[in-house]
Symmetry: C2
Subunit: 449 residues, 2 copies
């Protein structure tokens, strides 16, 4: 069984670029010199992570450049030189804070792998600082690999492993950065928020989106901003730190419970939903905090999760048999993504909708044995199940409206069912606003922000 | 069996407002006079559609006012006076274009019901013009009820009824407006786009969101903008016309294939995804068109739909049994909402992910008998299944990436499977860009626009 990111997991360069590389027998990871427009640079060939026609070279100063093949001259250089010697002495600076960086995989980790030549096995602070040298100026860095995989493959079991690791180690550090694939970073941040309640240190998740517009990666900037945020703010809890816009100006720090990946490829894909970001952070260490109240409760690691929970999207023609199937395979929790204010087709109003009565019966049956929570596929705005009769009937049938993203609701429901076997206790926990996950007041400025 | 919108389907007024109304024995639909701040108005009490503490009165000039109960004096007036007599003579103006307004229900219809006193049975041009008098100045109006229901209850069968009605009548009109509940207006607009290919007239869907900020409704403005767009543009095809912002400045006209309800309650909830709106329209008739090319093909009504199609959202812990269930109940088409660029947990990389191999087998099995299309739960941005190995393996397993919203993909897949029993033909149709549904170039300005 293979673990981690391999070369063939990375998008190929275009035939044109490949031809130029093949001619010089240059492969990803090789050292090379590049001449373009009279300017010569030296560095390491990086895997392509965006436009297949743009050659990406990690320069010796730590930055990536992207070069189109036109008018380019490249030459393989002997003896790949490491930016920092592998066994560089790494001195702890007692005047600085100390950050633990936990790796879980994804694009951000694959870049570091390539840069350092370390593949999938271990990562040292030296490796990391070789990749992002500016980190050393911000804090003392410790680094560990917890696991190394694409985030789409992460199971709730991995969330628990990660939460246990953090619960065990957090006291020894001023903050923790978790590097993570971007596909499901917002699910993991929600899971850690519930599992590590009132953790008194900042736990900041960062990822790296592919950069389709240029060769430079966003990994370094997201890491640096996360480190600066840890060092320069009073924040405690779980958050996600990612590019705020298409430039390299600053990052936003988003609440781990109210963040969502809203674009498949942009560096500024991560957005706070219905609330404003917690902070705006620059790599130089400027931190602008929104109104923020540090949690004061006692740290409670509550690390359990019921996996028989699904996220089910309502659609026109949504059939009782679709929902019933989840019951048949033993699922105890369903988060519905309803239409509009939180609706499902349950009204039998003409001969074409007679069967809607069956959906309502299935819902009633399933809420006797488990939990059905309602969110909205609109994503923004409050679920409002007292507005129209559909919502009221659904509530009478046992459906619980919740004020959060469908993804956060899914994580909460799995976590709640992991905490207790008592259905009534679980239902009360779903209604309760445990970690600020239930949005009480939507910020109108936050719509599509 | 009850049909249509009833009084109890509308949100109740607050106890404070109810008390004032009860004292004067005033019910929704009754005529009343209101005195507040020295100003006296007369009109009809409307159902509450927003803040339960704001009394909504439709004035004789056709506009709604919202009044908080503080310092208000109300009095029931005898003999509800109709704004226009029921049998008003409605003269056709040969110099004006003629628009057919088809009612399908939802909030927009319920308002008209209350205003006119006509409940759920028939609607005349007079009823409509009594409700939105400015319509008469824009065009000759004809109105019909096709059905009358909340849009969450609409079945694909209703789309077909509506498409048949339009295909049958469109030649006699300069354009058609469809009033529709907002929950699923974007599913219906996608369905009509596929079913009424190259229709040479504009078919504009309008809805009405609840107005939580004031008593006035957005129904009138959306209708007026749609009418102005029909009269003052060269557009042909299916589109959605809704408020562009929180003010009553103008509406956007969105492509029927690339629009989505993005907020549960705002009037400006409808947004074009990955493309810019087709046009900006004001009630006074100003139309600013984006780059627009009128379709030139022959009108092809292709009215069929396979209902055994589902929209399935991938999530951490997504299990092969979840997907398998859809096969077991005979579903032939699945649109997956993958994570990130279009991923699902199919890689077995450690002992916690061994079972991911089973999901891959189920996918392979299901794509032999039916179609699995991949979209992204990010909603914005292209699906990119050639970037990482996960995407490539999914494609080898038969998954078809499509470049559209999950909702449009769901509608396309049902429509495609309705057109042919031949699986290969159907797969080719899914890949084909039939009506511009596959976005070839994403407009970066359109992200969260």
């Amino acid at each position: 069984m293979s673990v981690g990111i391999k070369g063939d997991d990375i998008m190929d360069y275009s035939p044109a670029v490949k031809k130029i590389l093949a001619k010089e027998k240059i492969e990803v990871g090789n050292r090379l010199s590049v001449e373009k427009g009279g300017k010569i640079s030296e560095g390491v060939l990086m895997p392509n992570t965006g436009d297949p026609n743009v050659l990406v070279v990690k320069l010796d100063n730590g930055y990536n450049v992207g070069l189109t093949p036109e008018g380019i001259k490249i030459k393989k250089l002997a003896q790949p030189k490491r930016v920092l010697p592998k066994k560089m002495k790494y001195e702890r600076d007692e005047s600085k804070k100390t950050i633990l960086i936990l790796h879980t995989g994804g694009t951000i980790a694959s870049r570091i792998d390539y840069e350092t030549g370390a593949v999938n096995t271990s990562i040292t602070p030296e490796d990391l600082i070789a990749s992002v040298p500016e980190l050393a100026a911000i804090a003392n860095i410790r680094a560990e690999i917890v696991f190394q995989m694409f985030s789409e493959d992460l199971e709730p079991d991995h969330w628990m492993l990660l939460a246990k690791k953090i619960a065990q180690d957090y006291e020894r550090y001023d903050g923790i950065i978790v590097t993570h694939g971007t596909d499901t970073i917002h699910y993991t941040s929600a899971a850690l928020s519930f599992m590590l309640q009132n953790i008194p240190k900042p736990v900041i998740l960062v990822g790296s989106q592919r950069s389709s517009d240029r060769g430079s990666s966003d990994a370094a900037m997201n890491l640096l901003c996360a480190a600066q945020f840890i060092v320069n703010s009073n924040f405690a809890g779980v958050a996600v730190c990612m590019h705020a816009n298409m430039d390299d100006d600053y990052c936003y720090v988003h609440s781990g419970l109210h963040v969502r990946k809203m674009h498949t490829s942009r560096r500024d894909s991560f957005r706070s939903i219905d609330v404003m970001p917690i902070a705006k952070v620059s790599t130089s260490g400027t931190v602008e905090m929104s109104e923020y109240k540090k949690p004061s409760g006692e740290f409670k690691p509550l690390i359990a999760f019921e996996k028989k929970v699904a996220l089910v999207k309502v659609h026109p023609g949504f059939n009782h048999r679709e929902l019933e199937s989840y019951g048949k395979i033993g699922y105890r929790g369903i988060v519905l993504e309803g239409t509009g204010l939180g609706h499902a087709p349950i009204n039998a109003v003409d001969k074409l909708t007679k069967h809607h009565a069956l959906l309502l019966s299935v819902i009633k049956k399933m809420t006797k044995k488990g939990i059905i929570a309602m969110t909205s596929q609109c994503l923004y705005g409050k679920v409002g199940m007292n507005v129209y009769s559909t919502g009221r009937v659904l509530q009478e049938a046992g459906v619980i409206p919740v004020q959060m993203t469908p993804e956060a609701a899914f994580v909460k429901l799995g976590w709640v069912l992991g905490q207790t076997k008592n259905l009534e206790v679980a239902k009360n926990l779903m209604v309760e606003n445990i970690m600020g996950e239930q949005i009480e007041r939507i910020d109108p400025k936050a719509f599509l922000f």
